[in-house]
Amino acid sequence: MIYAGIDIGSNTAKAALIKDTTLLGTRVMPTGYHHLKAGTRVFEDLLHQTGLTRSDVGAIVSTGYGRASIDFADKAMTEILCHGAGAHFLDPDIRGVIDVGGQDSKAIALDDQGRVDNFAMNDKCAAGTGRFLEVMANALEVALDQMGDMGLTADHPSKISSICTVFAESEVISMIARQEKRKNIIAGIHDAAAARVAILAAKIRIRDPIMMTGGVAKNPGMTAALEKRLNQPLIISPYCQETGAIGAAVLASRP
């Protein structure tokens, strides 16, 4: 039987299809304003891409901030459980997950069977989320996807002391005014964001091996900063954006 997971995040909508232990395919598209439309579209595009039809799918689980909008899903589950299940599906040895998405970041501890044992999420604040990096990329006039590589070339990373996104932005602007090198400012930004995420991991005393998921895992500067903070290597999810959707499909397959 084939199962589907749909993850409606703040920036992107993701879908995944699995059959037993095989991943049949995944798809990502921008969420936009309409959650249900995005969910329907990403799911149907994925069916088309894999040559399947709706009747081939046994059950659907929706997750993410827009999970309640997906009225054709059989069940809605939180992204915490889904990221845990997704990481376990991709690599059963994983004991910790760090997910940094558009509007939140979380650390998840898994038990020996891959079940969620504990979790911590960022508080009502964008520091240490994808949004934080977006705001900074904008202030620095750098494309978001180039930020990571640029930060890695820093020779003397700047120090960002504010933990609030708005204050950090003005701090960055004053650094620009002082003509600090862009690559150094970026490295400082990555470190500030990584510090916030590392606190979440410490809160729940996460165990290794740790998988990093979420769109921000595509930023090599950020993952390097996090590895330094955590003092251990991270396994970057091969489907970092779709891990939650994959997990949702896994949970859909369970009775």
Partner: protein
């Protein structure tokens, strides 16, 4: 999951309590006409000498809770910020300071105080807060200083606090121009002890499965042991409440339909979201059966000598939950986990209440290590709704309940 199972009958005593609270506030508001004095006092403060001297005690913190429940906290907190107070200041303090000026809130402001009694066993913020109000109202202030008992109650602390009990009585005698009647003081002390003992009994009823009431009910019924401690009114009311709860237990009435999971709450309530939170947990058949907050008004019973209240009061008011070390706090939480047989702990990291929220991470780890139950931490504020993110907290509760369900199933 069933969204709207049959709601259990409401606890009848609630109406009686509302009436008693109304009478209490009317009496306090009418104090000047009846030649009576009003003292504002901190929630954990030694109120019995006031009652014995026929002074009406009024609690800015209880008022803060009313402001929060009435969802009037945002405007009053913003007003205090307009006046120049930091948004990081406790929201009880902010709303009280603003309310004194604008006479806002659900009852149009508290009656004007004739004196202020500030006991710092609950926090350090009250010192500055009461100093501000003493200047604003131009009234005398008595500070009852209770050192934090990190490891125990030393002889130095005992001597220091006991000396203040005598100074306190002298202060009241000077302000009122009357002598304290020792017999009256003993009588009030006995009633206070009895009220606290009964309040503990009320809370104990929730050890029954299903629980006849929840922590949300306790947050409500708490008002009398805070405001009318040391009176016959509180004693009579709690006796009736215990009878009603005992009947509910006998009839097998649970406050959460199909109670499946039992949870413990830590820290003050989120006053402006009581119903919302209660509904979220009930939807998962989870009942918050107990909390660390309401038991603060009976937690020091063991230190009270009911026949010599005044002398034993020093220790009882010093060794309350918020004035002891984190290790001891964790011990009390562990005892509650066992006594109420809970499946999870929900901690409210309260932006306002620093002494309550500081140490929660350690307590969380200790509880997880010693009991294995899941612990949820939610960030909010007891009165100020601007520190509350509904969708984030909803997601956390859902994920937490998924884990609770998983773990409880494993038992």
């Amino acid at each position: 999951m069933p969204d709207n199972p049959v709601a259990p009958p409401k606890i009848k005593a609630a109406k009686k309590m509302r009436d008693l609270m109304t009478t209490y506030y009317l009496e306090a508001l009418g104090a000047p006409e009846n030649n009576r004095l009003v003292a504002w006092i901190t929630s954990g403060g030694p109120v019995e000498p006031l009652v014995a001297m026929d002074i009406i005690p009024v609690y800015p913190e209880n008022h803060g809770a009313m402001i929060g429940s009435a969802k009037m906290g945002e405007d009053l907190c913003a007003k205090a910020e307009d006046m120049g107070y930091s948004g990081d200041l406790c929201s009880y303090a902010r709303s009280d300071i603003a309310c004194a000026v604008v006479k806002g809130g659900p009852i149009g402001g508290l009656p004007r105080p004739d004196m202020l009694i500030c006991c710092n066993n609950i926090c350090g913020t009250v010192l500055k807060w009461y100093e501000i109000q003493a200047r604003f109202f131009q009234v005398p202030l008595f500070i009852f200083d209770t050192p934090v008992c990190h490891t125990g109650y030393s002889s130095e602390i005992a001597a220091y606090v006991t000396a203040q009990v005598h100074e306190y009585v002298a202060f009241l005698e000077q302000v009122t121009g009357k002598k304290m009647d020792p017999d009256k003081m003993n009588e009030v002390g006995r009633l206070s002890y009895e009220g606290q003992r009964l309040w503990q009994q009320v809370l104990n009823t929730t050890a029954h499965k299903p629980s006849p009431m929840s922590a949300f009910d306790a947050f409500f019924f708490l008002a009398l042991i805070v405001t009318l401690r040391g009176t016959q009114i509180a004693v009579d009311f709690y006796k009736d409440l215990i009878d009603e709860l005992a009947q509910r237990v006998k009839d097998g009435i649970g406050v959460v339909p199909n109670e499946t999971f039992r949870l413990l709450w830590d820290n003050l309530p989120v006053w402006h979201r009581l119903k919302w939170l209660s509904d979220r947990f009930s939807a998962h058949q989870a009942c918050l059966v107990a909390d660390t907050y309401t038991s603060a008004w009976c937690g020091a019973l063991k230190y009270i000598d009911e026949n010599n209240f005044l002398d034993s009061m020093a220790e009882a008011y010093t060794r309350i939950y918020l004035n002891i070390g984190v290790d001891q706090m964790a011990e009390e939480v562990l005892e509650m986990v066992r006594f109420y047989d809970v499946d999870g702990l929900v901690m409210h990291s309260n932006r306002s209440c620093k002494p309550y929220s500081f140490g929660q991470m350690d307590i969380m780890q200790i509880v997880r290590e010693k009991t294995g139950i899941p612990v949820l931490m939610i960030e909010a504020d007891m009165v100020d709704p601007r520190s509350f993110s509904e969708s984030q907290i909803e997601t956390r509760i859902e994920a937490f309940m998924e884990i609770v369900r998983l773990k409880a199933g494993r038992k």
